[in-house]
Structures are given as structure tokens and as C-alpha cells.
Amino acid sequence: MSDSILNVLEHLEALADYDGPWKALRQETARLRERVNELQTREARLDDVLVVALVGGSGVGKSTLLNAIAGDQIALTSAMRPCTTKPMAYHPPGTELPFHEWEGVPRSALEHLVLIDTPDSDSIAHIHRERTVEVLKQCDLIVLCASTEKYLDEASWSLLRPLRGQRAMICVETKAGPQPSVKEHWLERLKDQGFETGPYFRVNALRTLDRKMAGGKPEEEEYDGPALDQFLRQELNRERIARIKRSNVAGLLQKATQRLDEIAEEIRPALADLEKGIQASDKALARESLGFVSDHLFAEPHLWTYAVGRETSVRSKGYIGICYRVLDALRSLPMRMPSFLSLAGLKNSDGRRAAELLTSDDLMPHEETIAPERVLEYYRTQQSELALTFVRAGIEVREGAGELAFQQELDRRLVSVIKGPARERVQNGARRLSRWLTTVLLDVPPVAFLCYTAFIVVKSYLAARFLDVSFLIHSATVLAIITTVELVILSFAIRSVAWMARQGSLQDLKAAFLAPRLAFEEEKAVLQDVRDNLKRIESIKAMVQ
């Protein structure tokens, strides 16, 4: 039993420390903390003395009852109302009291019991009522005292109502006399309002006190006075005290759980909606990002041709290779110009950034983002929709943090694809195009033609003949034509390599974007947090039951 209570307490404490986005739960933490503290002290005092509070309206005879139980004039009594102003504890000598703020009379012969006489609960002195409330917080057993006049007073009942089920209670009807008892009426009304009470005593405390002071035997006119004595002295043994305390703790737990359960029930229907909303937004965002990037950024054929061309020109060998290298250097001249010379808008183009990533070895510079603005805008739409759903469900979400995270995540994924498999494809293609075999194959026609020209030149030199100028012009033209045709073939090869690289990379990009955790991390975390706490509440409920 004790272990399981400690377990529940641990969970409750965790909930009392809650400072998250779930508003209803956060508003509850102060009260929960109070209850947890009370539970802890009660749990620690399970084997301690039983604190019994005598509670009731002004003038019903609480102090007189205490005197009668003690058999001595301990508390002041008077005909003027209100009389008792401060709580007073009556306890056996040497008992360690669990509280120190009230006066104590260490003369009691009742073991394990601390009787507390409280001020009234209903007079015009408000401070009395507050003090009584303090005592009620500390006590384990309430002895509700009332006379025939005061047993239905709202003032006393309103104090006890919040404690229903959390304190054991017995009823004592004071000033018993020849008039009929109100027991039935009183107990019936108590039961109507959900109170559970223990044994009922009808006493005439004044007579009992007189008899005890005189030292006689119990008389008929004391009514249940001796029975009450008997109850306090013998029936309230260790075992019964422990049972009372445990049932108080159980009642308190029940109360705390009940409130938590209400909070949980309130949010449960909204939670399913939120979940669905997040999933839908997530999917829509991935689709939109992919659509935009593949339609715009990745759809540009120049980008890929440029990248493969650059890579090829770096590796190219042989005559045609050198020619291509020169051509590429000329073509990329504007890209290499310092920024103040470059054309307006060149720096900010999405395609250029992607192309730089594809070709350069540098990592992505931090200040630049390649996530396109349109996708970010779409994100904002989805986010505002989600935020509204969250607020309506009573959950607070921080604003604005998610956008940066999404932008960075999108960048990261784009970069990882471009820097990773896309770049590999481009480089592999370039490598294939600049192999020795390709180089030789491309170089064969111009070299063969050059050899043939050289052969003619040497032959005519040996024959001591001068060649026509037209021959040289003719040869140069043929070489130029051959070179141009070869370059065109090479560039077509580069284009097809680029096209293949693009197709493959698009697949990778799709996989990268559809991978989980793209966006709304914050919202998901918040939802998870709420879910965890819901689970906690459920487990508490299960344990309490």
C-alpha cells in the first residue's frame, strides 16, 4: 500500500512541477502542489498520533466537551459568545506534536490522541473561522459538535463540505436533556449531502464533568458520555488510528485524481483533432516543398549542364579536352567575376546557389539559405492554421521559432542531397566523360587529320615543292570543322549525363523530403508533452483505483 502511494505521489509531484504549454494543467499545479505536500506530510505521519479536532458552532459546548473528556477545567467556558478564541491542543505528556503554533496542555491520559479545541466556525469574529480552517487542515478526525439548535447551520457545514471523504468524522450531540434527540434528522441530512460519519454520541458534558470532578460513577443522565470516553480510550487503538489515517489519505488522493481526470477529459477530444491536423500539415508541406523544388530549382537544365561541364572541364585531357576547357572557362567567366562586377540579381538566384553547391568543395555558407521563399510562405500558412487549433484546444505554442527550424531543416536536406548523391552523380558522369578511352576516341579524328596534313607537308618538302596557301587554309578549315563537331558531340554527351544525374537526384530529393521530422517539431513536441502527461494522469487513476 505504502509503496504504491509513494509511486502515485511521485507521479503527482511530477505533474505539480508542470510548467508546460497545457494551460488547464498549469493552472492546476498550485492546488496540486498543496495536495501533494499534504499527502506527503500525512504519509509521513501515518504512524504518528491521531489529531482530533472538536469543531462546531459558537456555544455548542466544544470546550465543555473537552473538559468533560479530560475530567478537569482545561479550556475556558462561558455563557458569552464567542468564548474560545484560539485552538488549544490537549495531549499526553511527552508527545511530539506535529505542529507548534498552538497552545498545548500535556496532561492527557489518552495515548496516541491529540484533542484540539477549536474556536467557533460561525460567529462574527472572522479570525476564529480562519483558525478553525487551519486546524481542519491538520486534523485526522473531526468531532463535529452541535446542539439541537446548531446542527443544521450553514456556517459549519460550508467548512466541512470541501473535506468530504478526506477526513473521518464522528458526530456529537451536546447538551442532551429531556428534549428528543435530533440524531436521525441530522444523520439523514449529512448523508444527503454526501458526508460519511462514524459513531454518534449524545452527551451532556456538564454532568460528566461534574461527575468526574466529584469522582463518582457514571450516571444515567450523562447519556452517551461514558460511551464517548470508552470510544476515545479503547476503540481508538493503534490499528484503528492507522485505518483512519489511511482512509483520509485515500480520500485526498481520490479528490486530487478526480480533478486531474476532469482536466484530461476536457482535452481528450481536441487531441485527436490536433494529431490529425499536424499529420495533414506535415504531409502537405512535404508535398509542396518537393513540388516547388522539383518544378523550379531542380527543373533547370542549365544548372546540371553547367555543373557537369565544370566537372568535365576540370578533368578533361587531350586536344578536344583542352578546347572544351578553354570554352568552359570563357563561359563561366561571368560567374567568376567579383560581385561588384556581376549582373544585378545574379547573387541571389536560387539556381546559382544550388549550382555552386554542386560544383564547389566548400560547405554551405551559414548566412545564406537556399530554402525558397514560396515554400516558407506555405509553411507560414500551415503554421498559422495549426497555431489556431492549438490555442482553441487550450495549449500554448511559442510563436515564430518553428519557421527558422523548418528553414534550416529544409536547407540541410537540400544540401545533403545536392552535396551528396547529386554531386556524386555529376562527378561520376564527368569522370566517365574524361576517361582515357573517351579522350583517345575523341582525339583520333583531329590527330589523324593532323598526321595526314603533316605527311603531305613532309612529302612536298622532300619533293622540293611548295604547297599552296589554299591548302593550308583548307586544312585549317577542316580541322576547325572536325573540332567543332567533336565539341558538339561532347557537349551532347554532357547534356545527357546531366539529364541522368538530374533524374536520379530527384528521386533522392523525394526520399529526403518525405523523411519524417521535416517541420512542426515544436508542435509535435508540445503534443507529445500533453500526451505524456495524459498518460501519467491515466496511470495515476489506474493506481488509485
Binding site: D122, E149, L152, A155, V182, H185
Partner: protein
């Protein structure tokens, strides 16, 4: 004067009822407005209105805490066992009125206490029957009583049956004299004290009576206790009565309740009271008390009206700010419009020159743009931006609007949670209940009335331009002259030169190309400065924003703030005005 006053009070009562029923559909406002008004409304219903009808009868009520013996004292006073006595608490739960036959007839006819449902007490146990309606008044005839006095038995004011408190407060308003039945236990209880303090404040004569008193030493304890009671309640005139504890009812029903203040016993004391004077005094004090409270009520009416206005304004300001943040794009070139406008108003010569120039400029710019696009796409690795199509533009605007609308709704939900009561209860739930998807769609539809935003903008801009053209004579003249100069000056300079030099040379080339140059310069100039000279965007911007704001109003605020508007209307209604007016009149009288 009394008649006039009575009439005023009747009007006041009617107005109050009208207001009450008008606000029935709004429990939050109703609750807040009529909070703690029970007391003075009862005074109005049970004392101020019917008092003038029954001027000559003193109403004495026996009141006190539960089980203090009110019914016993009542029976003693009446001299017969009329009210049922029970040992259990909170037994009497409906009032019982006794008077002589004449008063009984009057009462049963409903003329004595018009606010309550008079019923003949058929059974002895009627007043302890919980099933009777709370405003029931049981009646019984008792021959011993004089004509100018009736007695009332009242339920308790402190038991857990809260309905009894309400009934007791009704009787408190009805009566002139309250006999406070106290006991040694129950004379300092908060509830009891509060009840009698309230009665004393509204001018009731209170006669404290100690029941079950200890007769030792000439009731010394009882006297001290009664003094204490008077101190707590604030009673100046101290006339005490006492019923000793050893008295038993059965022995002597005609027992006279003894006085502790050297006066007659209670019954005789009551009979000897000056009815007219007492009633008059009670009436004056009641009226004073009543106007004190209506003052608060009228102030509350004004407070609520002011607070509602504040709340409406708060939301309106938000809507305005949101609408201001909407910065629509027209999608059409602003500068071209001014250029076209001026072009249409050129003279014959500059029009011809302009036409030639325009054809050349268009041709050159087409070639240039194509070349530029080619180069650009190679350099920047992206295609040129194409102007958005009508659908794209519209969906862009729809997105902008939907984000703003959603944010606005969220704002409103959060704002509503931090409002003061009762506005919060009236409004917060309604904001939360908004159908967001539908609302957003409605706002979009209301704001984007035109499918083609560029066309809508153009129509607007041209209207603005026309107006500007008509209003600014001097500037218009300047513009036209500038345009003509740009158009004609190069040609005018080049042509004579060409004629003079008489051969193929530079001047001819200049003369041939100058229309192109003129058109080019004028186009650049007018494109660049169109929006600075004539604020072409402003009216359209303003209209779109106003439309957006109106849509937010109509679909969000008006829907959610309905209770506030209704409440405001009720607070401003004729009934409320009447209440204010009559309150002022009563204040002067009292």
C-alpha cells in the same frame, strides 16, 4: 407627493422587469448586472410598492436562527398554537401570517402583501411543507389580534436549506417590526447578525428577544448577551424581551412575553406602537436605503456600457491593425498607365513622332529582351520571372488573407480570455466556437471580389488618374509640355542640320533615330515617376484594406460580439434610461 412617488416607483419596477426579461437570453450579463440586487429589489416589491395600499396595519415578524424557537415565540405572541413547533431544525420553511378576520379576508384576497401568493392554511403542518412554492404566504385568522396588527412567522436565516434564507429576506422586506429571537448559543452567529444588520440598515424596528434565558439574577446573562447583540447589529433603541428557559408552552398559551426594559410585555408593546408613525419612519428609511443601492445599480449600468464599448473598440483596433498589415500587390505595372494616359493626349505631331518611336522602341526592346533572357538564363541558371497569371495572383492574395485571418482569430481568442467579467463570459466561448474554415473562406470571398486583380487595380488606377488629370491643371500642363519636348526636341534639332548639311552623314542618322530616343526617354521618365506624381496605388490599397477590415468585422467580430451588442442595446434601452431618471427623482425625494 406620495402618489407621485408611488407612480415613479411603479414605473421603476416595470422598467426593471423589462430590463430583467430583456437580458434573460444572456445569463452572464444578467448575473453580473443583477448580482446582489436581491435585497433592494425585495424592498421595492414588498415594501415600497404595496405600502401605500395597506397604510394602517403594522406588520410584525418573528425571525431568527434555526431551532431557536421562533414558532414557539410566535404562538406565545398570538396567544394560540397556530404555527407548528418541531424539535428538529429548519422546520418552518414558508411564512405564516395571522391577523383578525378582517385582515385575513384582505390577505386571502391578495391585498395585504401583494408580492406573495397568499394561501389559506388548510393544515396545521403547511408552513413546514417543503413542496410549497417559495413565494407562498400561508394565512390564518386569529380573533384575539387587534385590527391594526398582523403577525408573521419566518423561516430560519442560517440553516443549510438556503431557500429558507431567501424566504426570510422576503419577509424582512415586508415587515415593519422584526422580533429577533435569540438564544444563549445563537446571538453572535454571523448569519443571524448579518440578517438583522441588513434589516436595521433598511430602517426596520428590531426588538431583540432572548429565548430559553436563564432567569438567575434577574436575567443578568441574558441582558449582557442582548447588549452584545445590539452592539453587533448596530441598534440604538434598546428594548429587550425575554422568555425564560423553564417555561413550557402547554401550560400557558396566553403567557405574556416579559420585557427587560421596564416596558409593557411584548404583545402589549406591539399593540401600543404608533402604527402610522412607525410605518412612515420605516418607509422613509427603506426609501433611503433603496436609493443608496439603486445608485450603485445605475453606476453599474454605466460601467458595463463603458466596458462593453471598450471591449468592442479593442477588437476593432485589432481588426484595423490586421487590415493595415495587408499589403496587396496589383500585378500590373503602375508606370505604364501614366505613360499610356499621356500618350493618348499628345498633339498630332508628337503623336506621329511617338508612334514611329514606339514601334522602334518596341522592336528594339523585343530583341533586347530576348537576348537578355538568353544571357540571363545562362548566367543566373534560372528562367526569367514571368508576371503572375490572374489565378496565381489570386491564390497568392488568398493565402495572405487566410494567414492574417487565422492569426486574427487566434488573437481574438487569446484576447477574449483576458477580458474583464462579464464581457469574458459573454464573448470568449463565441470566439472559440467560430467555424474557422468557413470564416476564412467567407473573408477571402468578401475581400477578393474581383477574379482578376490586375484588371481591378487598373480600373481603379485609371479612375484615379482621370481625377488627378482633371484636378491638377498646372502639373498636367507641365507633364504634357515635358513629354512634347522630349518627343520633338531631338527631331527638331536634327532635321534642320540634316537639311543644311545636304548629304549622308551624322545628322541624318540622328534625325532618323531621334523619335526612338524621344519615346524612350519619355517612357523611362513616366514609368519611373508615375507613382510618385500620382499616388496610383493608394486608393486601391485603401479599398482592399477597408474591404478586408469590413470582412473581418462582418464574419468574425459581429458574429462573436453579438451578445455584447445586445447587452449594449439593453443597457441603452428606454428601460435603462427610465431607471436612471427615476433614480434621480427618488434621490431628491428621500
Amino acid at each position: 407627493m406620495d402618489d407621485a412617488l408611488n407612480h415613479d416607483l411603479e414605473v421603476f419596477d416595470t422598467a426593471l422587469r423589462t430590463l430583467d426579461s430583456a437580458l434573460e437570453s444572456q445569463p452572464a450579463l444578467h448575473g453580473a448586472l443583477f448580482k446582489d440586487t436581491g435585497e433592494w429589489r425585495k424592498l421595492l416589491t414588498f415594501k415600497l410598492l404595496p405600502q401605500l395600499a395597506g397604510k394602517d396595519v403594522l406588520v410584525a415578524a418573528v425571525a431568527g436562527g434555526t431551532n431557536t424557537g421562533k414558532s414557539t415565540v410566535f404562538n406565545l405572541l398570538a396567544g394560540a398554537e397556530l404555527s407548528p413547533v418541531r424539535a428538529t431544525a429548519a422546520a418552518t420553511c414558508r411564512p405564516l401570517l395571522v391577523g383578525n378576520q378582517h385582515r385575513f379576508d384582505q390577505g386571502v384576497a391578495g391585498n395585504l402583501v401583494p408580492g406573495l401568493q397568499a394561501r389559506f392554511q388548510a393544515h396545521d403542518t403547511d408552513p413546514i411543507d417543503r413542496s410549497a412554492a417559495p413565494d407562498t404566504l400561508f394565512m390564518k385568522a386569529c380573533e384575539g389580534l387587534p385590527d391594526h396588527m398582523v403577525l408573521l412567522d419566518v423561516p430560519d436565516v442560517d440553516s443549510i436549506d438556503l431557500i429558507n434564507w431567501d424566504v426570510a429576506e422576503n419577509i424582512q422586506a415586508v415587515c415593519d417590526v422584526l422580533i429577533a429571537v435569540l438564544t444563549g448559543e445563537k446571538y453572535q452567529d454571523e448569519q443571524v447578525i448579518a440578517y438583522f444588520r441588513q434589516a436595521a440598515d433598511s430602517g426596520r424596528v428590531i426588538l431583540p428577544l432572548m429565548n430559553k434565558a436563564n432567569d438567575a439574577q434577574d436575567f443578568e446573562v441574558a441582558r449582557a448577551q442582548l447588549e452584545d447583540f445590539c452592539q453587533s447589529v448596530g441598534i440604538e433603541e434598546r428594548t429587550f424581551f425575554v422568555v425564560p428557559h423553564d417555561f413550557t408552552l402547554m401550560e400557558s398559551c396566553d403567557h405574556r412575553i416579559a420585557s427587560l426594559s421596564d416596558t409593557e410585555p411584548l404583545r402589549a408593546y406591539l399593540e401600543q406602537m404608533d402604527v402610522v408613525d412607525t410605518k412612515d419612519r420605516v418607509y422613509r428609511d427603506t426609501l433611503k436605503h433603496f436609493t443608496g443601492h439603486t445608485e450603485e445599480f445605475v453606476a453599474r449600468l454605466d460601467d458595463f456600457a463603458k466596458s462593453f464599448d471598450g471591449v468592442s473598440k479593442l477588437f476593432e483596433h485589432r481588426a484595423e491593425a490586421v487590415a493595415q498589415s495587408y499589403d496587396p500587390e496589383p500585378g500590373a505595372q503602375v508606370g505604364k498607365l501614366l505613360h499610356n494616359h499621356i500618350k493618348a493626349r499628345r498633339g498630332a505631331v508628337s503623336r506621329t513622332v511617338g508612334k514611329v518611336g514606339a514601334a522602334a522602341v518596341d522592336g528594339v526592346s523585343y530583341v533586347g529582351r530576348s537576348l537578355g533572357e538568353m544571357v540571363r538564363s545562362r548566367l543566373t541558371l534560372t528562367s526569367a520571372k514571368k508576371p503572375p497569371t490572374a489565378d496565381e495572383l489570386r491564390s497568392y492574395h488568398a493565402r495572405e488573407l487566410s494567414i492574417r485571418t487565422r492569426d486574427f482569430i487566434r488573437d481574438c481568442v487569446e484576447l477574449a480570455e483576458h477580458l474583464d467579467q462579464p464581457a469574458r463570459d459573454m464573448v470568449a466561448k463565441r470566439f472559440e466556437a467560430l467555424e474557422v474554415t468557413e470564416v476564412v473562406a467567407a473573408v477571402e470571398a468578401a475581400t477578393l471580389v474581383d477574379d482578376n486583380i490586375s484588371d481591378a487595380f487598373r480600373a481603379h488606377a485609371e479612375k484615379t488618374l482621370d481625377e488627378w488629370w482633371n484636378d491638377n491643371k498646372m502639373r498636367r500642363l507641365f507633364l504634357v509640355q515635358l513629354d512634347a519636348m522630349l518627343m520633338l526636341a531631338p527631331t527638331a534639332v536634327a532635321l534642320p542640320l540634316a537639311v543644311y548639311s545636304g548629304g549622308v552623314g551624322v545628322p541624318e542618322v540622328v534625325a532618323a533615330t531621334s523619335p526612338l530616343a524621344g519615346e524612350f526617354f519619355s517612357r523611362v521618365l513616366e514609368h519611373q515617376f508615375a507613382d510618385k506624381w500620382v499616388d496610383l496605388m493608394a486608393p486601391w490599397h485603401k479599398e482592399q484594406q477597408a474591404r478586408f477590415e469590413r470582412a473581418l468585422h462582418e464574419h468574425i467580430l459581429e458574429a462573436a460580439l453579438v451578445p455584447l451588442a445586445e447587452g449594449r442595446a439593453a443597457l441603452d434601452s428606454e428601460a435603462a434610461e427610465t431607471l436612471r431618471r427615476i433614480h434621480t427623482q427618488c434621490l431628491t425625494v428621500s
